[in-house]
Every structure is written in structure tokens, then in C-alpha cells.
């Protein structure tokens, strides 16, 4: 005896999930293929790109192990400043990325923070992912950046856009000499 056809709402959920996955995999391709300007287009005009730091704290205070929004962080950008980073890469003399690093973005665990089966124009939803970013440059210099992302996605002109990104890296002392790679 075979499975019953899922409900329309369930099918809508499957479709929405795939749309979200497609967004993230497209993003990864744009970055790893160095199409940085196209990558910027995935962000909403008022996007926030924030990467807090991590701390070692006692068990009872464990929620404090991610630095707050009004604290110093690794990165706190809006779309305008993200664009400056992209333009710096395009100069060809940004030595930290000249020659360019070889980078692969692996995105996994795509999950809606709250159940949903549709995202209407202008509406937003929270999406969680994991990332594994491998970066290798010149001869043997290699960095691995691993962590979680908590995004807010918004539908704009029918397309999903990243309205907010919070990047939770699983390191306290950053074991990379720079963060020239977008996460």
C-alpha cells in the first residue's frame, strides 16, 4: 500500500523549502565563482550583515557566549559597506586576496526557524543554516571556517532576498589571519 498524496499546504512547504535551498546554493556558486556583484544583488537594500564574536563563560551565563549587538563584533555591515568590500576585491590590488583565494562554501541544515508554507511579497521569515567554508591560497595557507547562520529572508518582487544575516562562528580566538571571505 502506497503513500497518500500530501496536502496542498504540505506541497507548498516542500516547494518553499526548495526555493530557500536554491537561494543558498546559488549564493555559494556566486561567491566561489567570484561573481561578487551578482552576489550583492541577493541582499535587500536595507540588509544587515553581522558576525558577532564568541566568549568562554560559565555554564549559568552561557547565553553570554555570543557578543551582543552593541558590543564589538567581527563584522557589522550594511549593504553599502558590503559593497565597499566587493569593490576592494575588484581593484585587483587588495593584497589579502591577490591572488584570489580558492574557496568552497558548503551550506547544510537548511531549516525554517518557524513552520511556514508560503512567503508573501514583502513578508519575512527566519532561516537557519550551517556553513563549512574552506579557503586555500597561494601554496598551502588554509583556513576552515565553520558555524551557523541565522538569516531573515524577505520576498521582494517575487524573489527571496537576504534582509539580515547573523553569522555565529565556532571559534573564540579566530584561527585565521583575516576574514576576506564572505560567510
Amino acid at each position: 500500500m502506497s503513500g497518500d498524496e500530501p496536502s496542498p499546504s504540505r506541497l507548498a512547504y516542500l516547494s518553499l523549502m526548495r526555493e530557500v535551498e536554491d537561494l543558498y546554493y546559488e549564493e555559494a556558486d556566486l561567491l566561489d565563482e567570484r561573481r561578487y556583484e551578482a552576489w550583492l544583488e541577493l541582499f535587500a537594500a536595507d540588509a544587515i550583515y553581522w558576525m558577532p564574536m564568541r566568549k568562554n563563560v560559565p555554564w549559568e551565563e552561557r547565553d553570554r557566549d555570543i557578543t551582543a549587538e552593541d558590543d564589538v563584533s567581527w563584522i557589522q555591515d550594511d549593504k553599502e559597506t558590503l559593497e565597499k568590500r566587493v569593490r576592494q576585491l575588484l581593484t585587483g590590488i587588495h593584497w589579502a586576496e591577490e591572488p584570489l583565494s580558492r574557496v568552497s562554501h558548503l551550506v547544510t541544515n537548511v531549516r525554517l526557524a518557524a513552520p511556514a508554507d508560503r512567503l508573501d511579497e514583502g513578508a519575512s521569515m527566519n532561516v537557519k543554516t550551517r556553513f563549512f567554508v574552506y579557503r586555500n591560497r597561494l601554496e598551502t595557507e588554509t583556513d576552515v571556517l565553520v558555524g551557523r547562520r541565522e538569516d531573515v529572508l524577505r520576498r521582494v518582487d517575487g524573489r527571496l532576498k537576504i534582509a539580515r544575516r547573523k553569522i555565529i562562528i565556532e571559534q573564540s580566538v579566530l584561527m585565521a589571519k583575516n576574514l576576506t571571505v564572505f560567510l
Binding site: V57, W74, W95, L174
Partner: protein, 435 residues
């Protein structure tokens, strides 16, 4: 470990401006640095904001070692080696917090906030005769000093006072750590410390901040893009005319001097910031007159505390992790009384300039790392580095600024002074030989 006895001077020829590459990559020399320099010099270890109240503590570093910075019940600030006297376990493994005592996880030896050993299991019966607990407290630094909120310490009892150690370079810290209006208000930390690891020798960082205007060209990509507060190209506000000052203690500072014009318009990107700085500037002019325009742009307090104290405003400590690896710790400063909007604007600007995501510092770190790497080889080690810029144009004195001052921005006099002092530390057997 082999001693360099008297040979460091042979590696550092500050007169002809040539320095052996060995001092940047040699393992033995690195170990000597730990003994003769980092265990001896005054080191920046933190800021009072990190230990405001009794029981507050945070972890810091001196050289390669973990150190606990804390304030006891009496309000006294202490710094202790973070290692239990029983079997060496780290007694504190939290970056910061507030506690009543430090209890070792392994056998529960307990240390008071002032480092005294106050708890030992079965002390009464297991030790015949009982050992003297007073001798087994946490190892405390030999001297500790607080200067305008910044905290400094040394492991060496024989070291001079922090004031003597700093010498005339004190002028830079006084200017740089006071609020922008030149008054007696306070500056504060913008928040937590950035910590990250760079595969370069720590001296590349120290010399770069001590004064290396020649490398400005390496920042062209960020200047083209423009990340400064002015909305235009460039990465900073206007800092006027640079003056390089070298100090016998090995410290080096690059001061900017702007004329006492009435109007400063450098913060177009943030009206609130622009307004705040304009009002500060007016107060500053009133207070300091012709000297209002003097700011310590960038510098290094020997050996490894470096700073920008105008825009961005930040302290960097370069903790060695081996000849070819350095752990960078960076904090950011702001006027305590500045409006929150100003603080948050500056915070995001500063971390866009400095740190691992700093569009300026990224290119420095790339250069430091590959310069270190390319200096390790058999043939490379036979060569020297070149520090000749400004040789022959001796630094003079200035009525504005203390120290050996030159307006020749391209001069490498400050790195030369830094390495001259480095060689003195490496050759001296104790502080008496260093005064």
C-alpha cells in the same frame, strides 16, 4: 638554551640601518626574547573597564602565558599567572566574569581574589609540618601600574617604574587616552576584545605601527574604495602634518599636527558624529590653543603595544606564539561621554578599518605573513633587512612634541630606535644594564 650574550648588537646595525633576518625567524632567538624581553619589560595587560568592580576578572596574556586580571574586595587590581601552584592547572578558564575566588578544577585548591591560597584539602592533617600557604599563592606580577585606564605590568622586580619605562612617550598616551575635547573626562572600551592569529613574527607588527609611512602605498585598494568617515575616498579623517618621534625606550610614535582652524568637517558620513567632534574640537581649541591639533596617530610602546589613538582609536597587543606566529588582541576606545549614536557609528567604522575584517589591516597582515615566510630559508637568512630611510637626516627636537622628532614622514628612524632597544634587552643580563 644558547645565550646570545652580547651578540644581539651584532645582528642589529642601527647605524647603517641593516638588521639580520635571523632575529625574525630563529627559534633560539625567539626563546631568548621570551626570557630577556617579555619576562622583563612592562607589558600592556588590559583596561580598568574590564575590572570595574571587586570580584571582576578577565583573562589576559603576557608573552605566551595566560594571566588573570582581577580586582580584589579592597578594590586593588592584581595580575596573576593563570596556573595552579599544585599541579599547574589553569585556575580560570572564563574570558571574563565576576567571582568570589578561583577554585582549581583538579584538586580544588582555592585562591582568594588577591591570590592568596585559602583552600587546601585536609590541610590540617595531611601536611606535617603544615607547609606555608603564604608561599603558595598564585604567582603575581612584580609590578603593576594604571595609567589613564590602561593597565600595565612586568614580571621583573628590577624593572624601573612604568613612568620611567615610558619616558617622554608618555606624551602620546596622555594625548591619546584623554577625550577628544582635550579635557579630563574618560575614554572607555567600546566592548570586547578581538583576538586572532597571524602567521608572522610579532616585530613586523611593532615596527609597522612604530612608524612606517612608506607602506601607505600598500593600502591603495581601500583608499580607492573609501571607508573613512568623510564619505569620500581614503580611510581616515584629516590628521594634518605627520611628525615622527622616536624614544630611547624603543617607543615610536607618528603624531599628526593640524593648524588650529575653527572648522573641522570630517564626518560627513554621520551628522551626529560630525556635530560631536565639532563641539569637542571647539572645547579642545579653547583648552589647548596651538597644541590642540596634535594627535598621536599611530605608534608602538615597546615592545608589543601598538595603537591608533585618533581615528580609528584602538590598542593592539601582539602576543608572540613562536617566531612565525602572533596572536593579535585588539580593543577599541571611545570618549565615555560621546552619544550612543556616535559610539555605534565609530564602532562599525573602526572594525571595518582594523581587525581580521579590517579592510586596511588585512593588507598589512598579508604582507607581514609572507615577509616572515620568505625570510625563513637558508639563503634568505644570510641577508639583512633594509632600514636606511631617513639615515643621515638626524631627528631634531620640536617645541611641539618631545622625543627625537622629524617631519620626514618617510624616515625609518622609529623602527631603527625600536631595534636598537631590542638589542639592548637581548644583550643585557638585568635591568641595571638597561637603564
Amino acid at each position: 638554551m644558547r645565550s646570545l650574550n652580547g651578540s644581539a648588537r651584532a645582528l642589529v646595525d642601527a647605524v647603517s640601518g641593516e638588521i639580520s633576518r635571523e632575529i625574525y625567524v630563529n627559534e633560539d632567538i625567539y626563546r631568548e626574547e621570551q626570557e630577556r624581553l617579555f619576562a622583563r619589560a612592562w607589558l600592556y595587560i588590559g583596561h580598568e573597564d574590564q575590572v570595574r568592580n571587586p570580584g571582576d576578572y578577565c583573562l589576559t596574556k603576557m608573552g605566551e602565558e595566560s594571566v588573570i586580571l582581577t580586582r580584589d574586595r579592597a578594590g586593588q587590581v592584581h595580575a596573576f599567572l593563570n596556573s595552579c601552584r599544585h599541579r599547574g592547572m589553569k585556575v580560570c578558564r572564563y574570558d571574563d566574569g565576576n567571582t568570589r575566588a578561583f577554585i582549581c578544577p583538579y584538586h580544588a585548591w582555592t585562591y582568594d581574589l588577591d591570590g592568596r591560597l585559602i583552600g587546601v584539602q585536609d590541610y590540617e592533617n595531611s601536611y606535617r609540618p603544615p607547609f606555608d600557604r603564604a608561599k603558595w599563592g598564585l604567582v603575581e606580577v612584580a609590578q603593576l601600574a594604571i595609567f589613564r585606564g590602561t593597565i600595565w605590568a612586568t614580571w621583573d622586580k628590577g624593572a624601573p617604574s612604568f613612568d620611567d619605562f615610558l619616558g617622554e612617550a608618555k606624551f602620546a598616551l596622555e594625548l591619546g587616552l584623554c577625550p577628544w575635547d582635550g579635557g579630563n573626562g574618560a575614554t572607555e572600551l567600546l566592548g570586547s576584545t578581538q583576538k586572532w592569529i597571524v602567521p608572522c613574527n610579532w616585530k613586523f607588527i611593532a615596527e609597522n605601527f612604530a612608524g612606517d609611512a612608506l607602506h601607505v602605498v600598500s593600502h591603495r585598494s581601500v583608499d580607492m574604495v573609501g571607508i573613512g568617515p568623510t564619505k569620500g575616498p581614503g580611510r581616515r579623517d584629516d590628521y594634518g602634518k605627520p611628525h615622527l618621534a622616536a624614544y630611547p625606550g624603543g617607543h615610536g610614535v607618528n603624531y599628526g599636527v593640524t593648524p588650529p582652524v575653527k572648522e573641522r568637517r570630517n564626518y560627513a558620513a554621520s551628522p551626529a558624529t560630525s556635530a560631536y567632534f565639532q563641539s569637542c574640537w571647539e572645547k579642545r581649541l579653547a583648552r589647548l590653543g596651538d597644541k590642540a591639533g596634535i594627535v598621536p596617530l599611530i605608534g608602538t610602546i615597546f615592545p608589543n603595544m601598538s595603537f591608533h589613538l585618533q581615528q580609528p582609536r584602538t590598542i593592539l597587543v601582539s602576543h608572540p606564539r613562536g617566531p612565525c606566529e602572533t596572536e593579535m588582541w585588539r580593543v577599541y576606545l571611545v570618549d565615555k561621554d560621546a552619544p550612543d549614536e556616535v559610539k555605534s557609528f565609530l564602532r562599525s567604522y573602526y572594525i571595518r578599518y582594523s581587525g581580521p575584517a579590517g579592510m586596511t589591516e588585512q593588507d598589512d597582515m598579508e604582507n607581514w605573513s609572507y615577509a616572515t615566510q620568505a625570510s625563513r630559508g637558508t639563503i634568505a637568512r644570510r641577508l639583512t633587512y633594509h632600514y636606511k630611510a631617513g639615515l643621515g637626516t638626524e631627528a631634531g627636537t620640536s617645541d611641539l612634541i618631545p622625543g627625537g622628532v622629524t617631519e620626514r614622514n618617510t624616515s625609518e628612524q622609529n623602527p631603527r630606535a625600536l631595534y636598537r632597544r631590542w638589542a639592548e634587552y637581548m644583550d643585557a643580563d638585568d635591568w641595571s644594564a638597561l637603564r
